[in-house]
């Protein structure tokens, strides 16, 4: 069973955002890592990069597949997790904690309204599973 962490905001492309003031800490969900399998490569936007909600901001690759990472919110990247780039397998073992990917200073916090809370994301995962 995949884990959904309470208190986070979620995208339909399986990223999460943890909001602290005007900063969003961003990662990919437990579901995303379990679908991808063994993760071997990450490409993250460097600090200073402007990212836009719903648009690709990075790449995550596993042994079997490559996938884009989409920005859950718009804003400026203020930090990228360099230690996770060196140990991408931690996305598998700790997707909500050690494997945060970037911190974004949000330009429009109202964008959070279109993201899902944990209950809605759980529902979304159940619907995805039923559709397959």
């Amino acid at each position: 069973m995949v884990r959904v962490e309470p208190g986070l905001r979620y995208t339909r492309t399986h990223e999460w955002a943890k909001v602290i003031g005007d900063i969003a800490i961003v990662g990919v969900t437990d579901y995303a890592q379990s679908e991808l399998g063994d993760i071997t490569y990450l490409e993250l936007p460097p600090p200073g990069t402007a990212v836009k909600q719903g648009e690709p901001m990075g790449v995550i690759e596993s042994v079997k597949a490559a996938s884009d990472i989409y920005a859950p919110v718009s804003g400026e990247v203020i930090e990228a997790n360099q230690s996770i780039v060196a140990t991408p397998e931690k996305v598998n073992s700790s997707p909500y904690d050690e494997a945060w990917l970037v911190k974004v200073r949000m330009s429009d916090p109202r964008e959070l309204d279109i993201l899902m809370d944990e209950a809605a994301y759980e529902q979304f995962l159940a619907e995805e599973a039923a559709a397959h």
């Binding site: 399998g37 063994d38 071997t40 490569y41 490409e43 790449v59 690759e61 042994v63 079997k64 490559a66």
Partner: protein, 343 residues
Amino acid sequence: MPVQYQGIIVEHQTVRTVAGLFDLGHMGQLVVRGSDALAFLQYVTPNDVARLRPGEAQYSMLLYPNGGVVDDILVYFHPVGDHYFLVVNAANTTKDVAWLLEQRRGRSDLQVDIIDVSNQTGMLAIQGPKAETILQRLTPIDLTEISSFQAVLADVAGTPAMVARTGYTGEDGFELYPPIESVTSLWDRLLEAGTPDGMLPIGLGARDTLRLEACLPLYGNELSAEITPLEAGLSWVVKFDKGNFIGREALWRQKSDGVPRKLVGFRMVERGGVPRARCEVLVDGHVVGFVTSGTTSPTLRENIGLALIAREHAGIGRPLDVMIRGRPVRAEQVRLPFYRRTR
């Protein structure tokens, strides 16, 4: 067969260090029999079927007249010695049968039957350094007497099966062909026998990384209607001296003129992602070929691949650039295979 059970890397390493169990029920099996079965197979395959004694197998292919590949196959001379048993790729089974029937129509001088037995035949593989030890617990025959590419009929956990020392992982191991109705119980018995040693069921993902490290070709990647066995580095399969066969003339011409492309191995020496099939390969900014297979090697812990490139650019140590998401990423050509077992 799922892509993975527990995870590609753990399954891969388990096959390299202990053993893994594969359900290969998707593969196709054909029986070729009749008084001219040998002559027919000599005509439709490039390897020399006459070298097989009962209970021996060889890697071979079905070729188009232009030398392109219909499929890559295993040809067994059945241990009983009265027919040949072909193992073909799942997705190609229908195409292969149609192709063989078409060739038979063109050779009405030959008395031969081609029967698709995929629906009656199960296929399991047990591969890895402990495969022999584990399988031996379930069969009275002495497995040490079966050498590589040999097959016998045996009782395995109460099921009659053809047991062959063949595989697609680069490890020692066996492929088993029980009747389809026994396959699930045999799977359970094998898993039970190997679990104390740490054996795991293996999915398609690890099957691909294992075969790629061992540099075993995959149809649709290293071989296709557009790629000849000579280009794919499999000239040993083509026995020009055995007499006529479909594709011989075209391959002989290619050999005489010089093979234009070569399959090479490479490893990525720059960060930038995992090379994948069909990525373009560049030298000095010019496209010289494409990646046929690529992955993160669980054994080597680096990104590796095979590429089909213009012959003049091939050479161990020479650089290539692989286009990954629109960016050239530096790679270096390496000796093949990427992995060879030491035992």
